[in-house]
Symmetry: C2
Subunit: 317 residues, 2 copies
């Protein structure tokens, strides 16, 4: 564990987000192997995810764990208001030094967590935070990509939203470890739990649990959730945790390589004026868009090979 204040941590995560150079001590926080439980929480707007996370923070703090929350906003900046609202709602933990809450943009990435969110959770793990909750609003494919990069995956639903069918249709259900039916005091909660259990039973056997909560009724309303998380964690650790972490890292590496290509060779080709020239020709009808793209791709690759086959490998401590 590394003694770093929340202010220092916040600054470091901002550096990571902006891709700024890091001090050796900061790099160590990223590059050391991590052990914290990274728990993804997703669900449709209105299911009460933030209220639930707020209650979970309180629960885990009673066990004197240091708890972190990263709220990933897939639609930043326009709908940033929602996440901002969530942060305000979690404000009772703002004075608690053992709680770190941060919202991060997804940088338009819909195929998984952005590398900077992954690095931020590495930093938080190595700074002694455990569990780390990654909360994201469920907007289609985006939610899938984000929760797929977490160790444990929780889906939060509420009755009367009809999102259950959407979740089943989209295959979200199939990759979830635990379902929380929140707002369980509303009519239809029992029926939703029943439907979910039916849907889950046929698919992955009995290890996926469905629990009810009423997180808006204070921490007591969500007291069923931490034990359910712990037992889902037990199941995961004894089966596929390492494999899951490897798969999430593989997805991260692919994202990183795409970024390297976009920010390196491709940007080089655009700067050299080739993209604009080709776009003019396509607009005039001289060549087709696919021919122009093939040409631009060649220019980008030529840039690479000229400069010695890719970027320099920076050895990190």
């Amino acid at each position: 564990m590394n003694a770093m204040s929340r202010v220092e941590l916040g600054r470091l995560i901002s550096f990571i987000e902006r891709g700024e150079p890091l001090a050796p001590r900061q790099k160590r926080l990223i590059h050391s192997p991590t052990s914290a439980r990274v728990i993804g929480i997703t669900g449709p707007p209105g299911a009460g995810k933030s209220t639930l996370v707020d209650a979970l923070i309180a629960s885990y703090r009673r066990l004197s764990a240091r708890v972190a929350v990263i709220a990933v906003d897939p639609t930043s900046p326009v709908t940033g208001g929602a996440v901002l609202g969530d942060r305000v709602r979690m404000g009772r933990h703002a004075v608690d030094d053992g709680v770190f809450i941060r919202s991060m943009g997804s940088r338009g990435r819909t195929d998984g967590l952005s590398p900077s969110v992954r690095d931020a959770s590495r930093v938080l793990s190595n700074a002694g935070y455990d569990p780390i909750f990654i909360e994201t609003v469920g907007v289609g494919q985006i939610e899938l990509g984000v929760v797929e990069c977490c160790d444990l995956r929780i889906l939060v639903l509420a009755p009367l939203w009809g999102d259950y069918i959407q979740a089943v249709k989209a295959g979200v259900i199939e990759m979830i470890d635990l379902v929380v039916v929140n707002k369980a005091d509303l009519p239809g909660a029992g029926a939703l739990v029943h439907e979910l259990e039916q849907a889950l039973h046929g698919k992955r056997g009995s290890e996926v649990r469905v629990v009810m909560a009423s997180a808006n009724q204070g921490d007591k309303g969500a007291e069923s959730v931490p034990p359910a998380i712990d037992s889902a964690w037990q199941i995961l650790s004894s089966s596929g945790l390492t494999q899951r972490r490897i798969e999430a890292t593989e997805a991260e590496l692919v994202n990183r390589v795409q970024d390297t290509f976009a920010n390196g060779p491709l940007r080089g080709a655009i700067r050299a004026g080739n993209a604009q020239l080709l776009a003019e020709q396509v607009t005039l009808g001289t060549i087709s868009a696919s021919e122009a793209a093939t040409e631009l791709f060649k220019v980008a690759l030529a840039t690479c090979t000229r400069t010695g086959n890719g970027p320099t490998v920076k050895k990190e401590p």
Copy 2:
């Protein structure tokens, strides 16, 4: 103009979406220079975009124009229900052979229209459809990317939604040619128009107009919109239309090149097992994620240079 039935057009667009090989006649529809007005319509959920598009279809059909609508769903597949609903609502035009309506996924792309949507609008233009409306629900950065790829950009807002402030904050207002305040029969419409005019006045001069509509009150409720579109089109044609088309095409080329890299060299490196091997080492803590990504990037580039510097240029007719 190319005599192609709506069924044939629909099939061709499906081929484009799936990246299937096309017949020479089909390729010509994509590769001929296009002339149709491509009009992007965006706005928050609930602003009444589809009802407005429905009314616009009726207006332009009275001028005996062939009209096409592509509904781009940025969050497909989970929230696909919304677009499906929109299509049902536009059902009265289903029997009209001069109207082509289609929904397409954005393939998780948030940085602009997917190349297949661009190609579909080329096909529709060369099949005699004009105008072509590209409708997308405004979800943050996604809406910006999509409307930036259209010739003319319309923002639809409704009073009482508070989205005006969001739109101003996110800079959406600054790239819009026309604002439609829909649901103008609701209280607050006049105040919203006033606010918008104030916001627009300072920024881009008086050429951006704000018009009111009540598209839910039938086609008459939206009759102010087609003349406003026509006059915005006049302004655009006499100033920056070509430049705007070049910029949109440049963004498209960049997207295409990224896809070529991801589906070619990067996929090759992943298939060769390098991504998984590196992911294992990162998970074990042997190397850092950024080092592993640099390594994977090198492998991907080596694949390219071995096979002769990129993919073969297919000459298209």
